[in-house]
Each structure stands twice: as structure tokens, then as C-alpha cells.
């Protein structure tokens, strides 16, 4: 029905239909000038504001120092004779590679642990339907709503008591509390879409629950697993307050904490290397995101919609 009416309108030449983008619905009702004012200009302004800090970050990290502080002689929005000095200094004169490695290692380990725990939990809640499964599901959702800001003080004393203070292991054990609620909730949604019949067949053929999970459910839920993995990895990379509280020694720090604490001196020339640090710390995530945009978006919206 919809297609029919749309086709009818396309025949009318007066309606300025934008044919190039396979427009449907009621786009034909708008003229181009109107679209420019109500759509393109506001969208352009918002996108520029959203992306400007990254442009600025990237620009500063390749600007020579004298151009950074002399804004009269050089146009600050551009760079003449870009330099790799700041990035060089960052990679070879500081502990930056070490911090990057710490961040990656903690994020990968915590994410892997959380995904394993979440797959098991989500399967149990959705498919084993044990007594009280609904309550457990709701409790896990509630756990998602407990913010780190009210937990870091008691956790600091828990970590101290276990002798894990200033150890990356403390973060690997604590980050799953941020990730499990979210991943479990997301995976529950995926598992629900897998037909029961597959599982019934496997059970009749004598498969154990474990075999069903590993050989049927997990392979079918790979897109969900990727979503959960990407989103969790990003969350770990982003985490700040726990890393700030639990890590003391310079070589154990993660990138966000190290940037805030180790780079800040009175030097007015600090900006180049500071921005280079922020840029290099963001790039791995942005690249990862570029490859998995759809998975990332479905993770983010899935967690809210469920």
C-alpha cells in the first residue's frame, strides 16, 4: 500500500523528489530550500560541534610548539610544517606504550571474563528457567544501575584486604561488575530469539546442557557476543574512577589515569604531547568502532530497549 502511493507520487514531475537516496514516505512533500534550512544546516552545525574537539586534538598533536602558542602569526585552525615530535616523545620518552598495554590487557581480560560469566548466566535465566529466574534477571538489571561513584570507597578497602592494591588484577576482577549486568541483559535478548526446537532436538539426541550451549546457542549468538564484547571493551577502556583509586605506581596505570596524572606539569609546551596522548589513546577504540559500528549501536540500543 505504501509503495503504491509512493510510486504514484513519483510520476508527478512537480514534486521535487530526491531520487538519489531511495527516498520513501513523505520526503516528496518538502522542497529543497526547506530541507536545507530545516535539516542540513542544523545537522551540519551539530556534527561540527561534536567532531571539533577531535579535529583540535589531532591538529594540536602534530603542531610545532611555536605555532601552538603564537596565535597571531599562525592561523590556529591550520598547521604549517606538521611535526611528529610530540608523538615521538610520547612513544619513546614516556611510559606511554606501557600504559597502552596495561589498558588493553585489563580491558581484554575483564571483557573475556565477563562475557563467559554473562553467557552462562543469560542461558540459565532464559532457557533453564530455574525457580526464581525472573527475579534474578531483574536483580541483574538493578546491578546495572549501581554506579562506581558510590562503590569505590568500600571497594578500595576490599581490594586492600585481598592484597590486590596497585595491581592490574584488581581492575580485572572489578570491571566485570560493570560489564556483567549489561552483557547478560543483552545476551538474554539474543538467546530468546534462538528457536526452542533446536534445543529440543539436541536434548532428544542426548546432548547435555553444556553441549547445547557450546555447540548450538553460542555459535548462533555470535553477533550478540560481538556486540557485547565491543561495548564492554569500550567501557573498560573508558573506566576512570576505579583505575584512579586502585593503581598507584606509574608503570601500572591505564591510559586515562596516566594522562591526567603524569602529563600535567607547569610546562606551557605540554599541550602537544598531552593531545598526542589523548589521540593515541582514542584511536584504537575509534578504529575498532569503525569496523563494528552496527554491532556497537545494537549493543547500545539493545541494552536500553530490552
Amino acid at each position: 500500500m505504501t509503495d503504491h502511493t509512493a510510486d504514484q507520487h513519483r510520476i508527478v514531475p512537480a514534486a521535487t523528489v530526491e531520487q538519489d537516496d531511495h527516498s520513501e514516505g513523505m520526503t516528496y512533500l518538502e522542497s529543497l530550500p526547506r530541507r536545507i534550512v530545516t535539516l542540513y544546516i542544523p545537522l551540519f552545525i551539530i556534527v561540527v560541534i561534536l567532531l571539533f574537539p577531535f579535529y583540535w586534538m589531532a591538529l594540536t598533536s602534530i603542531k610545532p610548539d611555536e605555532q601552538l602558542i603564537d596565535m597571531e602569526k599562525f592561523n590556529p585552525f591550520w598547521v604549517i610544517k606538521p611535526t611528529l615530535k610530540h608523538i615521538n616523545k610520547l612513544l619513546f620518552e614516556t611510559n606511554y606504550p606501557r600504559w597502552l598495554w596495561n589498558t588493553m590487557y585489563v580491558a581484554a581480560a575483564a571483557t573475556t571474563l565477563s562475557i563467559i560469566a554473562s553467557v552462562l548466566a543469560a542461558y540459565a535465566i532464559v532457557r533453564l528457567r530455574f525457580r526464581g529466574a525472573e527475579v534474578v534477571g531483574a536483580t541483574i538489571f538493578m546491578a546495572y544501575l549501581v554506579p562506581p561513584s558510590i562503590l569505590f570507597i568500600p571497594l578500595a578497602s576490599v581490594i586492600q584486604a585481598y592484597g590486590l592494591f596497585d595491581s592490574p588484577l584488581s581492575l580485572i576482577l572489578i570491571y566485570p561488575t560493570l560489564l556483567i549486568p549489561f552483557s547478560t541483559w543483552l545476551l538474554m535478548g539474543y538467546f530468546k530469539t534462538i528457536p526452542f526446537e533446536l534445543e529440543e532436538c539436541a536434548l532428544i539426541d542426548g546432548a547435555s546442557r553444556w553441549q547445547i550451549l557450546v555447540k548450538i546457542i553460542v555459535p548462533l549468538a555470535v553477533p550478540g557476543l560481538i556486540s557485547a564484547f565491543i561495548f564492554s571493551f569500550t567501557l573498560c577502556w573508558n573506566e576512570f574512577i576505579y583505575a584512579l583509586t586502585f593503581l598507584q605506581s606509574t608503570q601500572n596505570k591505564t591510559v586515562p589515569v596516566a594522562i591526567v596524572n603524569e602529563f600535567v606539569d607547569g610546562d606551557i609546551y605540554k599541550w602537544g604531547s598531552l593531545m598526542a596522548g589523548a589521540l593515541v589513546g582514542s584511536l584504537p577504540l575509534v578504529i575498532l568502532y569503525a569496523f563494528f559500528v552496527e554491532h556497537y549501536v545494537s549493543a547500545m540500543t539493545g541494552a536500553v530497549k530490552e
Binding site: M1, T2, T5, D20, D21, H22, T27, L39, I46, V47, L50, P53, F54, W56, T60, I69, M71, P76, L113, L120, A121, A124, L128, F130, R131, A143, S149, I150, L151, F152, I153, P154, S157, L173, I174, I180, P181, T184, F196, L203, R209, W237, F240, L244, P256, I259, V260, I268, W271, L274, M275, G277, A278, S282, L285, V286, V297, T301, V304, K305
Partner: protein, 341 residues
């Protein structure tokens, strides 16, 4: 899905019962090869759903109980003690920490700042996010690319983008001051992070900048589920674009708005990293939030008990936010039928 699931359920019960050695084997099933009548206690246990589920839930439960539920209660307990870093468990002092806080003007300033920060930032995030979602929902070239670009501020670690804002807000070399001076709008640099009002405005702006993509992309996902035929029908009936938004988009979007805004409010209220990277609560505590004050008192000054009391004082606000979320979800269930899947 609902009735189908229930149908499966009864079949499952039948199969489980047969495994458990009871005599209610449905005649339609082929004769099983295993001897159900002789199954051992171990076999029965191994196929018991509750017993299996216990093991499946164990890893997740262990993490959440040890590092989430226990610290939550420990935090409340610590707020009633005079615990300090390095002392290893303080004495119970009752409400003393809270009595101190009651007369502490800096604490009340941080409460005020937190509420201001949360209310202003969330309201603007909602307005701009909804507007952006409506824009992104329209047809345009390079749609996918623009959507992907919009989400980048949410991907990049907050602290790293906050550092970029720190440089943008620099008192001497701020690009904003420079541009405004060149345009002839102001005649001297703005002290973005050094002046109380400017500092508050600046951190709120940075928070909005970071939060808008989340609100926009999640609301966009909600918008995409609204059927275009509703808009077509409304247009035929002569509805204006405002009426289409007010009477179609907004009511259908309300449930998801409730959830998204609860998350947004929750994370804004408990924000720590943006403030810590930009101002550390300064100038003169003008941007101290409850979370940053709690860190400063609890960890930096070592008065764990007092820090825990400030953190615990945040809980009532969080409960209110969660309650709103819960009611939002209830309404969604009501709209879609009983099941949530």
C-alpha cells in the same frame, strides 16, 4: 511468543519428568533406550534444572556479590564509622559523619552543584538529543556515515575528550576566546575554568557534548520502530508537522524516553571523570560534585568514613531515578502486551 513458550514449557516438564524416573512417559514418545527407572541420584541431580542453573549462575553471581553487593552494604556501614586509610576498620560512630555533613557548607554546595549539573545537562541533552534523533531519522545522503560520526564522542574515553576540552578552555590559548576576539565580540580572553560561573557552564557543556550522541542514537532506534503509515495517515487528515510530532512521535516514544533519560540522569548525577579531568572541583569548589567531593574526602584526605557518607547520601537520589525507570518500563509493557521479549 508468549503462548508458544508456554506450550514448550509443558513439553519440557514432561520430558524432564521422564528423565527423573517418574512414570508419566508420554506414549507418543519413542521408547527410550536408557533405563529411567534405575537412574541414580547423581543422574537425577545432573538433569535437575535448578541444580544446573546454580552452576551456570555461579560465576556471574560471584562477581556481583563479592564486588558489587557486598561493597554496597560495606559502603553504608563505613559511613557510620570513623575509618581512615591505613587504619583497617574504624569504630562505629553512629550518625556522626552525617551530622558533620549537615553543617558542612562545602557538602551542601556540592549537592547544589550536582543537582544543577544534572538538571541543566539532562534537560539540554534530552532536547538536543531528541532534535538530533529527529534530524537523523530523515532521508539524506551519507546517512550511515553521519550516524556513525555522531556517535564518536560517546566512543572516545571521557577523560581523553575532557583533556581536549581542557585545552579548548585554556585561559591563554583558548580557541573559543581567540575566535570571539577575532569576530570582535569580546576584547579579552575568557577565563573558562577559573571563574565560578564560567567553570560551571563549561563542565556542563562538556557533559552535554558527551551525552547527546547516546540520547540521540538510542532515541533514533525508537523512532525507527514508528510506522511511516501513521505519519501518512495523519498528513492526509491535515496534521501539521508539530501535531505529527506531538500526537504520534512523542506518545510512541515516551517509554523509551523514560528509560534513556533515567540512564542519562543516573550517569550525569554520579559523574566523576569529566569534572576530575577538567577542574578537580575548583575553582573554590564551584564545580565539586558529590562524587568528586567523596573522592577528595575519602581517598585523598584518607577519611574513608566521611567519603562513604557522602557517597551514601547519593543513594536516595539514585533510588528515585530507578523508580522512574521502573514505572517507565511498566508503561511500555502495558503498551506492548504482557511479555517483554
Amino acid at each position: 511468543m508468549g503462548p508458544r513458550l508456554r506450550g514448550d514449557d509443558t513439553e519440557w516438564v514432561a520430558i524432564n519428568r521422564s528423565y527423573n524416573g517418574m512414570t508419566t512417559i508420554p506414549t507418543s514418545l519413542p521408547t527410550p533406550t536408557r533405563h529411567f527407572g534405575k537412574s541414580s541420584a547423581w543422574d537425577r541431580l545432573r538433569t535437575n534444572r535448578n541444580w544446573l542453573a546454580l552452576w551456570f549462575m555461579l560465576p556471574a553471581a560471584a562477581f556481583l556479590i563479592l564486588f558489587l553487593a557486598y561493597p554496597l552494604f560495606l559502603g553504608v556501614w563505613m559511613s557510620f564509622t570513623d575509618d581512615r586509610i591505613g587504619r583497617g576498620g574504624g569504630n562505629f560512630v553512629g550518625l556522626e559523619n552525617y551530622e558533620w555533613l549537615k553543617d558542612d557548607s562545602i557538602f551542601w554546595l556540592s549537592v547544589f552543584n550536582t543537582l544543577l549539573y544534572t538538571i541543566v545537562a539532562s534537560a539540554i541533552k534530552f532536547a538536543v538529543g531528541l532534535y538530533l534523533a529527529l534530524l537523523l531519522n530523515r532521508h539524506m545522503p551519507f546517512k550511515a556515515l553521519i550516524r556513525a560520526a555522531v556517535l564518536i564522542p560517546f566512543i572516545v574515553p571521557t577523560v581523553l575528550s575532557a583533556i581536549a576540552f581542557w585545552w579548548i578552555y585554556d585561559s591563554q590559548f583558548s580557541i573559543i576566546s581567540w575566535s570571539l576576539i577575532k569576530m570582535g565580540l569580546i576584547d579579552h580572553n575568557i577565563n573558562f575554568l577559573g571563574d565560578s560561573s564560567w567553570a560551571r557552564g563549561s563542565v556542563i557543556f562538556a557533559n552535554i557534548w558527551r551525552g547527546v550522541p547516546f540520547v540521540a542514537i538510542t532515541l533514533l532506534a525508537g523512532l525507527q520502530t514508528v510506522s511511516p503509515s501513521l505519519y501518512e495517515a495523519a498528513t492526509l487528515d491535515g496534521a501539521t508537522s508539530w501535531q505529527r510530532f506531538r500526537f504520534i512521535t512523542y506518545p510512541l516514544l515516551t517509554p523509551i524516553i523514560a528509560v534513556v533519560m533515567t540512564f542519562s540522569v543516573l550517569f550525569t548525577f554520579t559523574d566523576f571523570q569529566l569534572i576530575w579531568a577538567l577542574t578537580r572541583g575548583g575553582p573554590v569548589n564551584a564545580t565539586h560534585l558529590m562524587a568528586t567531593l567523596s573522592y577528595q574526602r575519602g581517598i585523598l584526605s584518607g577519611r574513608l568514613g566521611e567519603g562513604a557518607a557522602i557517597a551514601t547520601a547519593m543513594i536516595p537520589f539514585l533510588m528515585a531515578a530507578i523508580a522512574i525507570s521502573w514505572f517507565g518500563m511498566q508503561r511500555r509493557k502495558w503498551q506492548q502486551g504482557t511479555d517483554n521479549d
